[in-house]
Symmetry: C2
Subunit: 450 residues, 2 copies
C-alpha cells in the first residue's frame, strides 16, 4: 500500500482548535525549518511514499462576512508557503517524496513549470504537484486572479495542464544538453523547441527555462470530487486523493474514476487512489478512546463553521434555520449539498441541521468510518478492509493532532503494517523517483511515456 502524510504549514493543520492539544509542540513550529526537517526525517525512517502539503491562497472570510473568525481560530491563517519548505526537506532526506498544493488559478503556467522543474531537480525526482483550482473568493480581493465558476476553473485548468506539459515534456530533448567543451556548446538548440501553446486562456511560447529534470512532469495529484473534477483527474492525474462517507460509496467513486480514466484513453492502473482519512492510534483501546475524546473536545466549532462556509462560499448565518440546504446555490461556489452528501448522505438537511451538526462537539465516527481510531492492530485491520472493499491503493493519513499524531503513526501504526507485510520496510533503490515508487522502476515520465 502507498502512504502519504497530510499536513499544512499553519499552526493547526486540518483541525481547528487542535493547536491547543497538550501533546502538540508550540504552534509557532509551523514556521520553523527544524520542525519540518524532523518530521520529514521521521517519515523517511517509516518509509512513507510522500509528505503531502495542502495550502490555500486568501482567507476564509465567508462566515459572518468576516475574516476575523478565521484569524482568531487559525483557520489556515497564518500560514507559510509550503513550496518553500520542501527544498530544505529534500536536503535532509534521500527517498521521501513531497506533494505540494499549487493553484492553476493564481500562477502563470510558465512560472509553474519552472517552479516544479526546479523542485524536481533539487529533490532528485521526488516531487508531486497537487493540482488545485482554488475555492476562496477572497483571493480575488487580493488581486491574484479572477474568481471563476467551479467548472470554468477546471476548463481553464485543462488548458493549463496542456501548456505546462508542453514545457516539461516537449521543449527540451533528453539529448539537448551536450556540454561540448571543444565545440563551445552547452546545449544543442536543434534539440530544444518552443512550446508554442496558444489557447483560450494562455499563450506560452517557450522554450522552457529549465533543462529536463528526473521526472520532467511532477507526479500529478488531484483531489477534485465533483463530476468536473473527476473528469479532470481522469485526463491528467496519477494520484487521486479522495474522501468518502463509507466504503460502499468509496468503492463506487474508485470504480467511476477508473472508468473515466479508461474512457480518457489511459490505463486504469496508471491512476493510484489514496483515501484521505483522519487517524488516531494508541497502544490500547482505552488509550485510543481517551485520545478520541480529547481530540473531540478540542475541535473548535467556530473554526469548523468558518472553514465550512469558506469551502462552500455560503455564509450559514445568512439563512433561516428551516431553509433546505439543497436550495442554496451561490454562483461560482460548490453546492453545499454536494459536500453534505459526501459525508452524510442519508437525510434531507436544513440550514439549521448543518449549523447544529457543525457546532455540536464533533463526534468522529470510528471503526474505520470517517476516522481510523484504535490500537495499531485495529487500525491496520480497518485499512486492510478499506483496501479490499474499495479498490483504493493507499492512504493520505491525516494525523490527529498534526504533530503528536504523526509520531504515533510512525511509532505505532507503521511498524504494525510492516509486521503484517502490508507496507515496505525499506525503499527500493531501483525506484529513486516518486513516480517510480508509485508505478515501478523505469516509470520516470508521466503516463510512462518514453
Amino acid at each position: 500500500m502507498h502512504l502519504n502524510l497530510f499536513t499544512e504549514c499553519t499552526p493547526s493543520p486540518s483541525f481547528e482548535g487542535l493547536w491547543r492539544h497538550p501533546q502538540e509542540p508550540d504552534p509557532a513550529v509551523y514556521r520553523s525549518l527544524g520542525h519540518w526537517i524532523a518530521l520529514a526525517a521521521r517519515l523517511e525512517e517509516a518509509c512513507f511514499d510522500a509528505l503531502f502539503f495542502a495550502d490555500v491562497h486568501g482567507v476564509y472570510d465567508v462566515y459572518e462576512g468576516s475574516w476575523q473568525p478565521a484569524v482568531r481560530e487559525a483557520v489556515q491563517i497564518p500560514s507559510i508557503d509550503p513550496v518553500l519548505v520542501i527544498p530544505a526537506l529534500a536536503a535532509a532526506t534521500r527517498h521521501l517524496g513531497f506533494a505540494v498544493t499549487y493553484s492553476t488559478t493564481y500562477h502563470p503556467p510558465y512560472l509553474c513549470a519552472r517552479t516544479f522543474s526546479t523542485l524536481d531537480h533539487l529533490t532528485g525526482g521526488r516531487i508531486g504537484w497537487n493540482v488545485v483550482t482554488s475555492y476562496l473568493r477572497s483571493a480575488e480581493a487580493n488581486g491574484i486572479g479572477e474568481f471563476l465558476a467551479h467548472d470554468v476553473r477546471y476548463d481553464r485548468a485543462d488548458e493549463y495542464l496542456a501548456a505546462v506539459r508542453a514545457l516539461w515534456e516537449d521543449s527540451w530533448s533528453d539529448r539537448a544538453v551536450v556540454a561540448d567543451v571543444a565545440g563551445g556548446r552547452y546545449a544543442d538548440p536543434a534539440l530544444v523547441r518552443e512550446a508554442g501553446h496558444e489557447g483560450k486562456w494562455f499563450r506560452v511560447r517557450g522554450p522552457h527555462q529549465c533543462e529536463p529534470s528526473p521526472q520532467r512532469t511532477p507526479v500529478l495529484y488531484q483531489a477534485g470530487a465533483s463530476g468536473r473534477g473527476m473528469a479532470f483527474a481522469a485526463r491528467h492525474a496519477e494520484v487521486v486523493f479522495l474522501t468518502a462517507a463509507d466504503r460502499k460509496r468509496c468503492a463506487e467513486q474508485v470504480a467511476e474514476l477508473r472508468r473515466l480514466v479508461r474512457e480518457a484513453g489511459r490505463d486504469p492502473a496508471s491512476l493510484k487512489v489514496l483515501l484521505g482519512i483522519p487517524v488516531i492510534v494508541a497502544p490500547t483501546a482505552e488509550e485510543a478512546a481517551a485520545k478520541v475524546e480529547l481530540f473531540t473536545s478540542l475541535h473548535s466549532a467556530e473554526g469548523r463553521l468558518a472553514k465550512w462556509c469558506g469551502w462552500t462560499g455560503v455564509d450559514l448565518g445568512g439563512y433561516a434555520d428551516d431553509t433546505p440546504i439543497e436550495s442554496i446555490r451561490v454562483e461560482g461556489t460548490r453546492t453545499p449539498l454536494d459536500l453534505i452528501r459526501r459525508t452524510s448522505p442519508d437525510r434531507d438537511w436544513t440550514v439549521g441541521d448543518v449549523r447544529r451538526t457543525l457546532t455540536l462537539p464533533h463526534r468522529p465516527m470510528r471503526g474505520g468510518r470517517f476516522m481510523l481510531a484504535g490500537t495499531p492492530e485495529e487500525v491496520a485491520a480497518h485499512m486492510t478492509a478499506w483496501i479490499e472493499q474499495t479498490g483504493i491503493d493507499g492512504f493520505n493519513l491525516i494525523p490527529c493532532p498534526a504533530s503528536a499524531g504523526a509520531v504515533d503513526i510512525c511509532d505505532l501504526l507503521v511498524p504494525q503494517l510492516q509486521r503484517q507485510g502490508l507496507f515496505r520496510r525499506r525503499y527500493d533503490p531501483g525506484e529513486p523517483t516518486l513516480r517510480e515508487r508509485y508505478f515501478g522502476a523505469g516509470h520516470r515520465d508521466h503516463g510512462g511515456r518514453p
Copy 2:
C-alpha cells in the same frame, strides 16, 4: 566593509563560456542542492554578509531574433529558480544572508509578500529581496505579464512596494498572535487589519496571510542605474548594487544616490552601496595574470552579444556598422547608449564599434578598474581605494569563474582583508538578522521604523 557574493543558478553564472573553465565543476552542479549548500557553508565560514542570486524570466532572444544563441551558450538558460534554493541553504547555515532577485512585473504583490515572509521566517530574518522590474520582452510571449516601458515599470514598482509593505508592515501587530489556550484564540483579530491597498495597478485587500517575520520587510536591494531606477532606489532601497566605469564616476553615483535618499526624506546612512565587480585573485601576480588570461580566452563573444542584445532590446545584427549607437532607441527598452556610457564613456560609439568590442576577446581592465585582479594584497589595496575614493560601503563580488573563483575569494582574499582589519572575523551574535548586519543591532524593520 560589507561583502556579498554574486551568483546565478545557471551553468555559467555571469560570464558566458566560463562553464568550460578547467577548474570549474561539472556545470550540472547548478541544479544540485549539495553544490549550493557547500558554497553557502564556505561563505559563512568567511563571514560574508550575503549570497546574492541574480535571475531572469524569459529568454535572451533579441540577438539574431532567436533564442538559439542563448541556449547554445547557456546565457541564463537553462536555469532554476533561486528562490527555491535558499531554504536548503538556510537550514545549513546560521548567519549568512541571502538576497534574491524577484520581479515586480511577473508576480502579484499578495503572493510576493507571502513568498518573502515565508523566506524571512525560514531563514530567521536573513532574507533580502533584489527588486527588479525585468527587462526581457520574451517574458511577455510566455504569458507572464505585459512588457511595459522602462519608466512605467518603475512607476508600477513604486505602487507595488506600497502594497507589499502594507502587508508586511501594517497588517499584523507584533502582539496579534496571542496563542491563548484558555480563551481559544490563536490570534487577536482586533490587532490584525486589512492592507486596503487600492491603486492604479493593484488592489490588495489583505489581511496578510503570514504573521510578522523577524524582519517583516526583507532587506530591499536594488540595482537600477537609470535616473528612474535611482529615484526608485532613493525611496525604497536599503542596499544598492551598482557598477561603475571608474572611481570618479562611482563617487558621483554614490553622492547622487545619497542626495536623492535625503531628498526622499530618508537618512542617507540608511542606504548601503555595494559595488558589483568581477574578481580574480591568486597567490602571486604571475598566477593572477595567467588566470586573467585564461578567463579572457574562455569568455564567449557570441554569448556576450546575445546577453547584451537582450539587455538593451536591440539586435545589433539589424543595424549598419556606421549607425551611431545613440540614434538607436527601441520602445520600452534601455538605450544602448546608456549602457555603453556607463562602462566606456569617452567616445562616440557606432554599432560597428560596439559589435567589435563585444566580439573581440574581452580584455578586462585590471588594476581595480572593471575587474579586481591580482594578489590578495593588491586586490585588498584596490578595494580600500574604491571605498575611500567613492563612499561605497562594500562589494558584491563576482567570482571569475563562478565556483573556483569563489573558493579563491574565500581562501585568499577574505583572510587578507581580515588580517588588515578590513572585514569581520566572526558574526556579531547581537545582529542575527541581515538588516542588523547592515545597520546594527536593533534595526530589524525597514528604515529602522519601530
